[in-house]
Amino acid sequence: MDLQHSLWLGAPEELLSVAGLALLMVAAFAGDKASRLISILSVAALTVCAIMVAPELCSGATSPDADAFNGLYRADAFAAFAKLLIYAAAGVTLIVAPSFFDRLKAMRAEFPLLVLFAALGMGLMVSATDLITLYIGLELNSLAAYVLAAFLRVDDRSAEAGLKYFVLGALASGILLFGMSLTYGFTGGTSFVGIRAALTGPMSTGAVFGVVFMLSGLAFKISAAPFHMWTPDVYEGAPTPVTTFFATAPKVAALTLTMRVALEAFGAQVGAWQQIVIFASLLSIVIGALGAIGQANIKRLMAYSSINNIGFMLIGLAAATPRGASGMLVYLAIYVAMSVAGFVTVLLLRDENGDAIEAIADLSGLSKTRPWLALAMASVMFSLAGIPPLFGFWGKFVVFQAAVEAHLVVLAALGIAASVIGAFYYLKVVKVMYFDEAVDKVRGAGELSHTVLLVLSTLVISPLGYLLTRWLGHLADIAAASLFHIA
């Protein structure tokens, strides 16, 4: 396990760091004029990284060959799956952001860089096999995210979102750190392998507290109830491209990190955290569904929807089986596609002055004035609700199937029954678009890039997406197998 091998395995992160620093220089000297160029180069860097990690996924790289830096970092198929989603989501953000900020005359060269550094942090998170790497990755991502949330400095809502995100995020980091220190104290190690080895047999109370606090901190990052309160405010206040980013990449990173912590570090003590996950899962489903009902802002609605969806994904974690993990990864991939389609549609909703429309009431009769846009939005809503034949159903399908196979039939039944509550508010959006009288507010035309992204993501969540299931399921199985390899 020499240094050269380690450097080779960590190449995507190294490339992103170097690219980020180099582009930072460009930004420093060329200024905001170069922001479009920097965006393009950043997307190029992300694409190269994606190409670099793809073979790890296809070949099913596992520990110990994938371990680097003396067990601090692991470039296995599981990390590669998550990184591909993260890079894709970051790329989408970079593609949709310039036109949004240009209109507000707020495009700055730092934006693509912050996204790039956030992606770097997330890459570290999903590859972390040590509490120290985990924390460095998490904080690198969070710091970039706090700034991104407040990126529209003159907008009060954006500033408020950034501040709220920062204060609550810092609190969560503190909780996580406390849990990590307890875990370290009671297991004597920071590496996941060491923690796992130390936690066989009966657990001491201190170690249980460590697990609880760590999972609570992570629950904040994935916005699972009861640590979800920041989500609606941040989603609403942050600029829409940033919300697109928050809804996708950090969710993937934090959830896959949670999976690795729970299934690898605490994998020998499933009983210690399974109840917590079940509780958080059901609570997220119900709170996400009930909270969304009264919302009048489409971005807030999407925030509650993400809480709701995280709840469903956690059902796969509660199963604590390779099938469950594979199901979560499939769900995550579909969720990213749904979120991209949803937020790109939101970005395309503009009135004649080009200002963003966020009120659900302003979508009234969209199907008459903009039938294709309405069709895309309706697909997203039915897909998020998990109604077949849209592809969102498949995500729910795989996690619930895994839960039933793990004999969690009651959990599955409760979860799926609660999904009907969620269907109500998704239907509300469809109702507003299709049944109500047209207000004809949505006018603005979108850029070609938006349209292409929307068409692609809508095709994925359309029934045609089912043709991807074998391929997606195969990759997710490989990734999940590498996560369970040590067991």
């Binding site: 199907s367 109604i387 039933v404 269907a423 109500f424 997606l472």
Partner: protein, 514 residues
């Protein structure tokens, strides 16, 4: 015919039509929709003609490994064949019924209907558990849009109620399906139909499927979405809802609950009987006091579905055959009745019974057809309604004479509310000038009601055409149920047929020969 994927083609034709309809204006959309449904009907006829009666149980099978976790598996038996025929027969009529009355957003309307047709055929031909579920659930989306966009005044409430009620019923079934697939190791429906699940588990699985099918059926007390949905839906929506969608519940019982969980079905037969008896009597009484024509027919649908469910759980061939005929007959008759309501609604734009009267004077042809369908709904011998209800009640009599007694009163009550409706609308004085001035049926409307009338009479006079394709499948199901068959209280002893010369009704002959 072997090799040609006719079922996939039947699924594809309306789907392509639906996509095409989205892009064109009103006139072209109507033509495309009519053409697509007629092609599908023609394919349906080809399907029936090529169906080998008494041949393999599953015919026209197709298998393709397209997806992870489930496969594209299609195939039909006689039961599915007849229900597919019902769907493709009603669809062109539905398009015809919407020809003039739908004038806003025609392309989307036709697209929703064609999508509906694809999904209905899919439900009846799916041979994979999860493929079935996807088709079964997906039907909610187009129906939600049809009720919500083109429905009446209170359409939004009705569309929500329809969607959420049926969704809640179905999701529990999905969990049960996961459990079954995990236990049996396959998602293939024919294999599962022969798989014996542990009796203790059957109870839960049966209840989960019951939750879904009872709502779809609909059975009392979860029927309340139906009157709302029917009243608010446009005419063609009601025809499809009553004609085909309600049959999905009955089909589900016959395809899943009975063969897969025979012991649980026997255990819960009392529940079905109790709910059905209440449904037959109670909803018939409710129908008697309705002022809205569509609501009246909707309640009568619930009552008829009660007859379907008792026949299903009679655990004998005669009852099962009766059930199938009631389903087919109700599909035709309820569809036709909604069509008749739609015809006068298009003229006067009200469904209030009191606003009509004496239509026999100015609409004699309409009165004749309405009379035919009214009689078929009551179950007059010679019409399809009689055959089905007779067989169904004869079947349940072998199990429980009390259930048969109570449910037979439903027929009397049915005669009461239908004749009362007919008297108020068609006979009497012409109290309203606008109703008296309505023109009689035009060519388009005649073209819609005549095929329905002929089918109703055909099924009433010579039901053998419809019984023959499914006789073997019903016999297979009956053999499967034999292990769990409850003892009846009637102790019917059927002797051998004594009169060789006289030709009895075919179904009874089959039962007697057993």
């Amino acid at each position: 015919m072997s090799g040609f994927p006719i079922l996939s083609t039947m699924l594809l034709v309306p789907l392509v039509g639906a996509v095409a309809c989205l892009k064109v204006e009103a006139k072209a959309a109507r033509t495309i929709a009519l053409a697509a449904t007629l092609i599908d009907f023609a394919l349906g006829v080809v399907l029936w003609l090529n169906y080998d009666i008494g041949g393999a149980q599953w015919q026209f099978t197709e298998r393709a490994q397209l997806f992870a976790g489930f496969q594209w598996a299609l195939g039909i038996d006689g039961i599915a064949l007849l229900l597919i025929m019902l769907s493709v027969f009603l669809m062109p009529i539905c398009i015809g019924a919407s020809w003039k009355s739908i004038d806003k957003r025609v392309g989307e309307y036709m697209a929703a209907f064609l999508l509906m047709e694809t999904l209905m055929i899919g439900v009846f031909s799916a041979q994979d558990l999860f493929l079935f579920y996807i088709f079964f659930e997906a039907g909610l989306i187009p129906m939600y849009l049809i009720i919500g966009i083109w429905g009446g005044a209170d359409r939004i409430y009705a569309s929500y109620k329809f969607f959420l009620y049926t969704l809640l019923g179905s999701v529990l079934m999905l969990i049960a399906m996961f459990w079954m697939a995990n236990e049996a190791g396959t998602t293939d429906i024919p294999t599962l139909m022969a798989y014996s699940f542990p009796v203790a588990a059957q109870k839960w699985l049966w209840l989960a499927f019951f939750a879904s099918f009872a709502v779809k059926m609909p059975m009392w007390p979860v029927h309340t979405w139906l009157p709302d949905a029917h009243v608010q839906a446009p005419t063609a929506g009601s025809v499809i809802l009553a004609g085909v969608l309600l049959k999905m519940g009955g089909y589900g019982f016959i395809r899943f609950s009975l063969p897969m969980f025979p012991e649980a079905s026997a255990q819960f037969a009392w529940l079905i009987f109790a709910l059905s008896m209440i449904a037959v009597v109670y909803t018939s009484l409710v129908a008697l006091v309705q002022h809205d024509m569509k609501k009246l027919i909707a309640y009568s649908s619930v009552a008829h579905m009660g007859v379907v469910t008792i026949g299903l759980f009679a655990f004998n061939r005669i009852g099962l055959e009766g059930t199938m005929i009631v389903m087919l007959s109700h599909g035709l008759v309820a569809g036709a009745l909604f069509l008749c309501v739609g015809i006068i609604y298009d003229r006067l734009h009200t469904r209030e019974i009191d606003r009509y009267g004496g239509l026999a004077i100015n609409m004699p042809r309409y009165a004749v057809f309405f009379m035919l369908f009214t009689m078929a709904s009551i179950g007059l011998p010679g019409t399809s309604g009689f055959v089905g209800e007779f067989l169904s009640l004869a079947g349940v009599y072998q199990i429980s004479s009390w259930v048969a007694l109570v449910c037979t009163t439903g027929i009397i009550l049915g005669a009461a509310y239908m004749l009362y409706l007919y008297r108020r609308v068609i006979f009497g004085v012409q109290a309203h000038a606008d109703a008296a001035a309505m023109p009689d049926l035009d060519m388009r409307e005649i073209l819609m009601v005549v095929p329905l009338g002929l089918a109703v009479l055909w099924m009433g006079v010579y039901p053998e055409s419809f019984l023959a394709p499914m006789r073997k499948d019903i016999a297979t199901l009956d053999a499967r149920l034999a292990q769990a068959k409850p003892r009846g209280d009637a102790n019917v002893k059927m002797g051998p047929l004594k009169v060789a010369g006289a030709k009895p009704a075919p179904a009874v002959a089959a039962e007697g020969a057993k």
